[in-house]
Symmetry: C2
Subunit: 347 residues, 2 copies
């Protein structure tokens, strides 16, 4: 019998062994709030790219089957957490009820995006996802979700379309941490060379813009196709754009080197497995690799660096950095190239 | 047709898609050397703790079955890489042949330990592991292994028993990186509080000793049993020793806090999955978590920190830091507590 809620949401975990909600197999989705909780009326889910891609591949592009899979996961686990990738996504909705002890500062009626993962957010879907064709990461959805004391939600800005804000907030950890790491170099008096693997994507383009704003030197964007290269070149976010399969470590090493590398800071933003080795080899001795892809393998990164005697600092991309949503939205507002890439992607 | 060797060992990869040896399914184990390679006559393997534990559990402690499993993996893959944990271990042996372009500085006849993982080292076992009972991580073994241009091997010191040197070198990345991170705090004028989860183990006890030598403030060791607690207390490596199940995030958070935390630097050295959340919650805002366990889940760490809005820097424990073997061996020589723990463990 639970006597008291915990800011981590522990009181909603239904597993026999005590784990945090993110690690739990199943969450309690009852709509009644504990004193520090907030209930959101859900309007849309934004599935994590790695998760959506996995589901799409597993079901061979059959949208109906993908929809059934998402419904099945949420009904079974009380949260949207892809059992293969372990990842989730985020959601937007309207604040429906605020517990008297909630520290989040939200008010009933505000439209918000949750900046904690769906993998730890109690969620109930009530419309069978009838308005979703299962073919896009953005999922129209009716239902409700619950936020805990230590959750994070951001009020959606008035000056930007909702889809755009959501897409930006979904990946706002990447530019914030990139900015912080680049700033540490700048504070020590150098302008680091930065390579962003997957520089044409959402988190990648924001990471490039954040690196430039923080004072980076040469910026290299790595993309998988000529089409993405043209798009990224048009956006003007990088000094050099190279087309390479990031899963080929030697090709990645050699192409980053040819574009002005190796990098002092390498940011991995691609949602495919197997990029750890190439990222390490693209990074200068004493440099830093930031892994933002949920497809990153911890052991491949650790052993890959050791295996080539690479003295690099490797960071797990933490999705939370104070002020991350505001920083990312400001980059979108002030950098026309970033905005165009996001709008192209959402079109 | 391969024309030239690559310092990463790429030329030994037999997979259709080009990956580094660590990521490869199968390696070429031919004994003939490329110009920058070294061949080692193997004497003993030291299996990674997470790998050995997994094999032991899978085969319910049946030593013969564990031995057959290791033989099967090596025959199939041309290297010792546990397919479940992804991890390997290291080996010792004698230098048998040195290619004319090898940059490693080794000489025929030297006894060495390889400091790159078995997961990327071409290996052939010739004695069927006849002298191993399958019940310990230390595996007497006849056969040969190949080192690449960028591999690392350390000559075994004369003043220490081989088993002791091997056990220390196997985990020497942990004290080296811990030392570097603590030194960064010390350089900024503070003596960080350090918590080592799994402080009674090999990497954990060395991490505690390295933290103290680097100028850490309060040191907390977290261990799973009263027996380990008594042993760690006897060794005098920590200011406080607490007994907690590190997989219980709330218990870990609360016990580290009660012992003088939260920690500025938390070092995770336990070989069980599910410790990411507790490590994050045990760490102060703005602090650093170093994950050294091969059982670490990348997504659990990334999403776990985000899920509780924790502004912590999370490092993938890189097994290579320049000078790591020498630093760890010196800690063993100069810290009687560390030495006693290692000798107890090997006894």
């Amino acid at each position: 019998m639970i006597q008291q809620s915990d800011p981590t949401g522990l009181h909603r975990v239904l597993d026999d062994f005590r784990v945090l909600p993110q690690a739990a197999r199943r969450l309690d989705t009852r709509p009644e709030l504990w004193p520090d909780e907030v209930r959101i009326r859900v309007e849309r889910l934004n599935l994590d790219a790695a998760s959506f891609r996995q589901l799409e591949q597993q079901h061979e592009g059959d949208g109906g089957a993908v929809r059934d899979a998402v419904l099945g996961i949420v009904a079974d686990r009380g949260k949207m957490q892809n059992p293969v990738t372990g990842s989730g996504g985020m959601l937007i909705g309207t604040v429906e009820e605020v517990g008297p002890e909630s520290p989040l500062g939200l008010k009933v009626g505000q439209r918000v995006a949750t900046l904690v993962s769906l993998t730890l957010t109690p969620l109930v879907i009530t419309d069978g996802l009838a308005d979703w064709d299962g073919r896009s990461e953005q999922v129209p959805c009716a239902g409700y979700a619950v936020l805990f004391g230590r959750s994070i939600a951001a009020v959606l800005p008035d000056d930007l379309p909702t889809g755009l804000s959501l897409a930006v907030m979904d990946v706002c950890g990447a530019p914030a941490l990139t900015s912080r790491v680049v700033s540490q170099y700048v504070d020590r008096g150098s302008a680091p060379r930065v390579a962003v693997i997957g520089g044409g994507g959402k988190s990648g383009s924001l990471a490039l813009a954040a690196a430039r704003a923080a004072g980076a030197g040469r910026l290299v964007g790595v993309v998988p196709t000529e089409r993405e290269a043209a798009s990224l070149e048009g956006a003007g976010l990088a000094d050099a754009v190279v087309v390479t399969d990031a899963r080929d470590p030697i090709a990645l090493r050699d192409s980053v080197a040819a574009a002005g590398g190796p990098a002092d800071v390498t940011v991995v933003c691609v949602d495919v497995p197997g990029c750890e080795g190439g990222a390490v080899l693209s990074t200068a001795d004493g440099g830093t690799v930031i892994f933002f892809s949920m497809a990153t393998s911890f052991s491949a990164a650790a052993l890959g660096a050791e295996g080539v005697a690479a003295d690099v600092t490797m960071l797990v991309g933490n999705g939370y950095v104070p002020g991350h949503a505001a920083l990312a939205l400001d980059l979108l507002r002030t950098d026309a190239g970033v905005r165009r890439l996001f709008e192209e992607r959402l079109a």
